[in-house]
Chain length 416, copies 2
């Protein structure tokens, strides 16, 4: 794969530039400001390139929801530029001394945050990811290799060119940002095995993409974004709060990963709570898929199939199950969840404590909607994704999670 070999080599060269003092916080921020300015001044080019993608998509009879993800107008491009400026304004995650000590033999040891190196991002239709992801990677001193969906190729090429030109004008190597213009599967598969050049691979997209990457990559991967989230309504819950939380977690934005997909309801309050919950959900015509016990209480419920418990519906559909205890709820979550976000609604102190201990997910809530799992909502700044794995980063991944560290050891000739 000659193309990837070339991209890899170029990334390594750009990485060496970024490792030096000539790419300190000040210089990186100036380069990001230049990128933001260029996105604005060359907006018409980007709109024109995007129009090519849109026309092609319409010709192939693409659904309107997909077109919406693909479309870039002036407002969205201004949003992209603004996003880049916000990233520039965040604190630099590189160069933090995470640990330091002077050893008895006089060696001075420091553990210092450093860029991960070369980050590859494989994503789908949204072309704004091109600038969002590149800005975060750059701010953390990383080179980025982007591989977007073929539907957005014209847009991505144009955005990448605008960014690369701006970087060069700011004295940075253009290859800090590279786009893989081959959008066939073979190139994606080869990219996933480019261990020699790529330090980390972050897939951004649906469950199919993520699984394909996890199964095929030999480069270290951070799994993101698949959210099969649960709300457990405990016997002691305030039922009005519980109905509000389930309604909000399901319907405020069903297409996102922190939306709730399954409600687990304690048997003791099921008869009282389920009709109350169903009444709220009916406001948005949410389809309820229930187990046998739920269907007995709610005649409008559809019987749930086993695969429903595993499904991220991303739609106005909610699976509902009645459980006998908190531990049964936790066991259900352990079996079916994607370990993204889960919430307990309870008034019992001990149950709140046990749920937060037992449930092994990135974000575990007590009496709040799962919809808060987000870098901004957590006060962590812009995020590149929400990790559902336990290695390296978990939950919202911001700038700090785009760094590694190294140990620096200063001596005067010490030998062992």
């Amino acid at each position: 794969m000659d193309l990837l070999e070339k991209i890899g080599r170029q990334a390594i060269e750009a990485k060496t530039f970024l490792a030096c003092a000539c790419a300190g916080s000040k210089q990186k921020n100036r380069a990001l400001e230049a990128v933001a300015d260029a996105l604005e001044t060359r907006m018409q080019e980007i709109v024109a390139a995007n129009a090519e993608d849109i026309i092609r998509a319409i010709d192939t009879g693409t659904a309107e929801s997909f077109l919406d993800r693909l479309r870039l107008d002036e407002k969205r491009i201004l949003g992209m530029a603004d996003g880049v400026r916000q990233v520039a304004a965040l604190p630099d995650p590189v160069g933090r001394v995470l640990y330091g000590s002077e050893r008895p033999n006089g060696l001075k040891i420091e553990k210092v945050s450093v860029p991960l190196g070369v980050i590859a991002i494989i994503y789908e239709a949204r072309p704004n990811v091109t600038s969002d992801a590149a800005a975060l990677c750059l701010k953390a001193g990383n080179c980025v290799v982007l591989r977007g969906g073929k539907e957005a190729l014209s847009s991505n090429k144009c955005i990448a060119k605008v960014m690369r030109d701006a970087l060069e004008n700011a004295g940075f190597p253009a290859d800090c940002v590279q786009l893989v213009e081959d959008t066939d599967r073979e190139t994606a598969a080869a990219l996933m095995k480019l261990n020699q050049y790529i330090d980390v691979l972050i897939p951004r997209g649906g469950a199919g993409l993520i699984q394909s990457v996890v199964q095929n990559a030999t480069v270290p991967v951070i799994e993101t974004g698949v959210g099969n989230c649960h709300v457990f309504v405990d016997a002691s819950a305030d039922l009005t709060i519980a109905a509000d939380i389930v309604y909000n977690a399901k319907t405020s934005r069903p297409s996102v990963c922190n939306a709730c997909e399954t409600a687990l309801v304690h048997r003791d309050i099921a008869e009282e709570f389920l009709p109350q919950m169903a009444e709220k959900l009916a406001l948005k015509n949410v389809e309820i898929r229930g187990d046998a016990a739920v269907c007995r209480v709610l005649p409008q419920a559809v019987p749930a199939a086993e695969e429903d418990w595993y499904t991220e519906f991303l739609d106005y559909i909610l699976a509902v199950r009645i459980v006998d205890s908190l531990d049964e709820a936790a066991a259900h979550i352990a079996k079916y969840s994607s370990h993204h976000s889960e919430s307990i609604v309870t008034s019992d102190y001990h149950n709140a404590r046990r749920f937060t201990q037992l449930v092994d997910s990135a974000a575990v809530y007590v009496n709040a909607s799962t919809r808060y799992t987000d870098g901004g909502e957590f006060g962590l700044g812009a995020e590149i994704g929400i990790s559902t794995q336990k290695l390296h980063a978990r939950g919202p991944m911001g700038l700090n999670e785009l760094t590694s560290y190294k140990f620096l050891i200063f001596g005067d000739g010490q030998i062992r």
Copy 2:
């Protein structure tokens, strides 16, 4: 693979126990003390089991160096018990609040360290890894699935049984520690893809094992241990210090990963330094494999082949190359190193600074031997391995690196 499915399910059950308050620091330490005591009191059983492995190895004509790694005598078993007690005495890495804030909407957010969950370790001949690795994993609240080499199967089975019995007597599920008794390749390959049950896989062994795991695993992996380490002797180096460091880094223990494999020597001091270095190395009959320029200065040097620069010799062999500049040395390291440990010997402030910036390895030294890369030497406590990847952990991996984290969010009915 029924066996692994069973092991996986058992691990998940034991994990649930470890997640609860019933497995706090006090209980974990008590369980580890019980394990240490049992290793001592049942020492004769372990010695007898080990004798079976040794006899089998002798029958198949195994080399003495291998037998030495395999052998367990009373002293080594006491060392294993002592190692477990040292781990018990370390601070608990679980439950540290790594970040916390109260959001404007009243949500209280905490980022708390938690166990990784289920850790699989694939290792080779040394049976002491069985107790060393298990103790570290347990202390960090993890279940461990061990898969040792077939040569040590009798020893490993016995050690695992002793540990499991001790855990049960201490009120812990025996399945906190499980040994995969099938030592065929198919079982190892299946273990590497057991994503449903295993959170992290750590291979411990030679380059072949590590590469096989990196190429085949779909479970997240932490690469450890391969050390192609470099010492760069700058033009401004104190040549006596430089010769001492090269000699120490190469010969104090050539079989370990932090030993030096290649010396890079600045052209300006090569004629003066090389004979001085060669004279010291001759004390241990070190073979020098040099580039053409080195061979011109040192008639005893053997010409180096291209693959020598990539090789972790683990022996009394040193590759030596003359370079024109620090940047050339850094470029050589970037190309050939395993990114474990590299050292510059210099008296120049700017060169020290540039080397530590440019060289992208887990440990970067100024004027010290690479042999210090070790959890104990860095003041970090016992280590499970030395990571040469950038994701999650880099360099010596101790207890903190055997944890992940989760976000806990406490609310009063907040919806978004």
